[in-house]
Symmetry: D2
Subunit: 305 residues, 4 copies
Amino acid sequence: MKNIILDCDPGHEDFFGLMLALTSTEINIQAISTTVAYQTPENVQKNAMKALELLGRTDIPVARGAAKPLIEPFGLADNWRDFTGLDGANFPIPSFAPSQLSGIDLMAKTLSESAEPMTIAISGPVTNVALLVAAHPELHAKIEQIVLMGGAINTGNRYPGVEYNFSIDPEAAKILLNSGLPIVMATRDMTEQGIITEATVAKMRAIDNPVAQVAADLMENYGDFSDPDTPVVLNDPEVIAYLIDPMMFTGTDYYVDVETQGQLTRGRLVVDQNDMTGNLPNAKLLTSLDNDRFVALILDSLATY
Amino acid sequence: MKNIILDCDPGHEDFFGLMLALTSTEINIQAISTTVAYQTPENVQKNAMKALELLGRTDIPVARGAAKPLIEPFGLADNWRDFTGLDGANFPIPSFAPSQLSGIDLMAKTLSESAEPMTIAISGPVTNVALLVAAHPELHAKIEQIVLMGGAINTGNRYPGVEYNFSIDPEAAKILLNSGLPIVMATRDMTEQGIITEATVAKMRAIDNPVAQVAADLMENYGDFSDPDTPVVLNDPEVIAYLIDPMMFTGTDYYVDVETQGQLTRGRLVVDQNDMTGNLPNAKLLTSLDNDRFVALILDSLATY
Amino acid sequence: MKNIILDCDPGHEDFFGLMLALTSTEINIQAISTTVAYQTPENVQKNAMKALELLGRTDIPVARGAAKPLIEPFGLADNWRDFTGLDGANFPIPSFAPSQLSGIDLMAKTLSESAEPMTIAISGPVTNVALLVAAHPELHAKIEQIVLMGGAINTGNRYPGVEYNFSIDPEAAKILLNSGLPIVMATRDMTEQGIITEATVAKMRAIDNPVAQVAADLMENYGDFSDPDTPVVLNDPEVIAYLIDPMMFTGTDYYVDVETQGQLTRGRLVVDQNDMTGNLPNAKLLTSLDNDRFVALILDSLATY
Amino acid sequence: MKNIILDCDPGHEDFFGLMLALTSTEINIQAISTTVAYQTPENVQKNAMKALELLGRTDIPVARGAAKPLIEPFGLADNWRDFTGLDGANFPIPSFAPSQLSGIDLMAKTLSESAEPMTIAISGPVTNVALLVAAHPELHAKIEQIVLMGGAINTGNRYPGVEYNFSIDPEAAKILLNSGLPIVMATRDMTEQGIITEATVAKMRAIDNPVAQVAADLMENYGDFSDPDTPVVLNDPEVIAYLIDPMMFTGTDYYVDVETQGQLTRGRLVVDQNDMTGNLPNAKLLTSLDNDRFVALILDSLATY
Ligand SMILES: [Ca+2]
Ligand SMILES: [Ca+2]
Ligand SMILES: [Ca+2]
Ligand SMILES: [Ca+2]
């Protein structure tokens, strides 16, 4: 079992990643730092703690990271449908205290105390890990790999061609991709294949335990299943699924970078698909997903509670 | 038969477009302006005239356009394999004089004297037509549509994601795409499906007339047929083929724009594939090609000489 | 007496430049093209014609140029105080027809028919002359110099550091500054020294002729003389004053360029004041003005009517 | 006496700032973090320690900060004249160990253990303090002010208009200026008034103590006194001089920001001198210096050893 660090912004989608990790026999979350996208730092940290309380792992420290992206201003999404970031389900009140460390300090302490290099998984904007990597060159040797959800090859959910997490903090994404550290990217192109149907939610509902009921509640709040042409996509848990079962993904190594300038393309992932730059690959891009196995993993994990 | 204006930078590839147009019963080239990419203005104009001499249409005026892209400097491609732009074949010396007008003036005069709105076809960087459109708002009503080769949705042959013609003059591309005029784009994604094989060249060679022999000579100079994994792609004649037989293409209307800023994405086409901007479509993007029909059109056209 | 071409967007300020030119024995306006900043193309052309009617020079052709900046959208200034661009004075209705040529064509025709290279004076955004220079490389030899009002070294009236005319069309400014043609720039830093006081307006009013009365009317509409700490500045006529009497200015040759990218600096003039780039000067920047002589020239010119 | 944190990249110039601080009765350096511009992280940290050894303050912890700017690559200045960053003088070998903390951690620890909010002085690129501010929102209340050397209003020593420290790490500068923390900026416009003449160096040499001799050695290595038209300018110690005697400076509060995009202006300070943005001032810009008092402070400080 490998110890990992999770940096996340729960979040309905992040909840499923957290749950997958905590039920896995392959990986163990040793520390959580929280990041911000469209919810306040307070809410995001509290959401992670509420989830841990439900999932019975109040031993994992949860530290709050940066209060905003590096350069972009922080903004609550104005059209967002939930007020806490985890609307739609009842979570227990956390019985434990948040970490007294900052998110970056908790990650740094965890890495420095680890005998082995560790994996860092990120299911939100990469602000915190970019700060960690920039502020702690002495800890690079302790990072085995960074697995993140972000970037789009030929799609985009914030602007044309621009994926949400990278658009929130393009400079942080650029710092990571140019860090020289091993990077695995769950691209938006791939996570759009992570589809939850109404039938899948019904299967969650049929699992008779409180965690599965919360999962079903969350999905019902999160997804709009009324239009069969617009499938409900679950973007974050793929990062954890990759650490549990990499064989459910296909991917390719590419040289990639992020545009931080530009009027229309700020935050856009640039992929050297045809080897035009002469630069060696610096990231593995996950581009397809076996959704049946992905959904089965989620359902099997829920059934263990 | 519809009269058109052709703006081009011959060029091996542009030659085939010129030849297709001159053998077609659908369209008639009434004026040619020449633009620059990697060859000097002098050579490009001379190449167009040499081609017309060979093809027996010395009545078409050939005027020289801008000496360089709007903002980018002019640069001879340093790794380019031919010195004239039409190396590899013997062309007759032009027996006629170049137009005394500038390229933009010839286009403006042709439009203003036309009773009907005209199509402008472009098989190079769009510098000249952008200047025409910006300098002559009074002639917009005389432009029926602009059909151009340029832009890439998810490929790129200059930089990752960035197509050659648009990279040469991003500002000109932006002027056209935001002009409000009807635009049809032969994207690089589509033109990469315009493949000429060694067998096709052999068929050209077997056509017993001087034009087909020149065509075969040009293709042998232009293409490297040694690697079956790297097919030889012919990018420009699709613009003319579309005017002759639009049914050999498929395409979709999109809202598009061009990034003119950015460190990595200058010149990149931005396509609102998922209707994220709320803007109405401003261009038809041709995305696939029936290559058998395309090749047949070329061979049939060569056979008419 | 030297023939010049004037490209302008009248405008209260441009009126004074036009009047200076028409009363000068040094220069003669041979053609006028009109450009747009915050007024419609229709109004700006009409304003130039109204001014010519008043000034008794209905022989000068007035042609309408581009309908908008190259890339920036056209926008009527929403907080602008006058509706026609020449509010506050009564002008006669033009008794002559506008030129049938486009602005760029009129300039090109004038240059090509001139035996000698000519000066082009610009007192607005440089869109039209940039189009002329880009579309007509064959006419560069007919351009002796371009004298323009635009750019700021260390001030700015649109955004911090960014002058109005350059902010309206940064790409056009970049085309001109990189054209290799001799450029003289009436920088905003200098034109801010062109101050009209209430006493000066009273002297205009005391000149007993219709032109001086219109001049006084315009200045009273244009300027707010209530705050002695905010002097009323007249920006455009310096371009013409320089052609009449260059000795009322000081200036320095610099290598300059314009930023067309950037979030905060688009349109900003970049001046190599400390010779850091190694590039040779490409423009003469006028940086100071003898305002007493400038005001005396205006008053003397008004008195000739 | 107020405790401060110093973030620096010594450096001949930084040495004088360090010396001023250590001889002052107004301020006390409690921690030093080192940053990189054109010298390696190893050399810069070692230089700070060598200086402390000479100056008799081996009790001050010296921690190494980030290994490179946030986004810009690290580059040794290729035309730099010294190999260690402190060439020209003999320094003792440090008798003490470097801090085991990272530079950002040392600053965070120092702030969190301080009863009072502290001043952070920066005499190099602001990378480290930007990371501190971004990674530790919980410590903002412990920062009284940040006094930095960087940015130019109307000069520039890296590119036209662009100052060196800001050009090295524009993103870090933007993070600081938008942090909401009180900022004092020793602009390049002001520090160019900090002139050391040959006569001043002679006065250093005449002070009979080892520190003054090292100071004279450093200045002889650093400055080229052969050209009276190119005065030798000392840029960094102004930051410390301001903390000791703010009355030797004049300055103004402005709203400022940094351009991080742009082809020609990346790293350029943007100053809202004419209150055009409507934004409240976020920094005090020091714009002039009483050089006699500045030089006297340096000489008096050297005489205390
Ligand atoms: Ca997330
Ligand atoms: Ca072509
Ligand atoms: Ca004007
Ligand atoms: Ca320094």
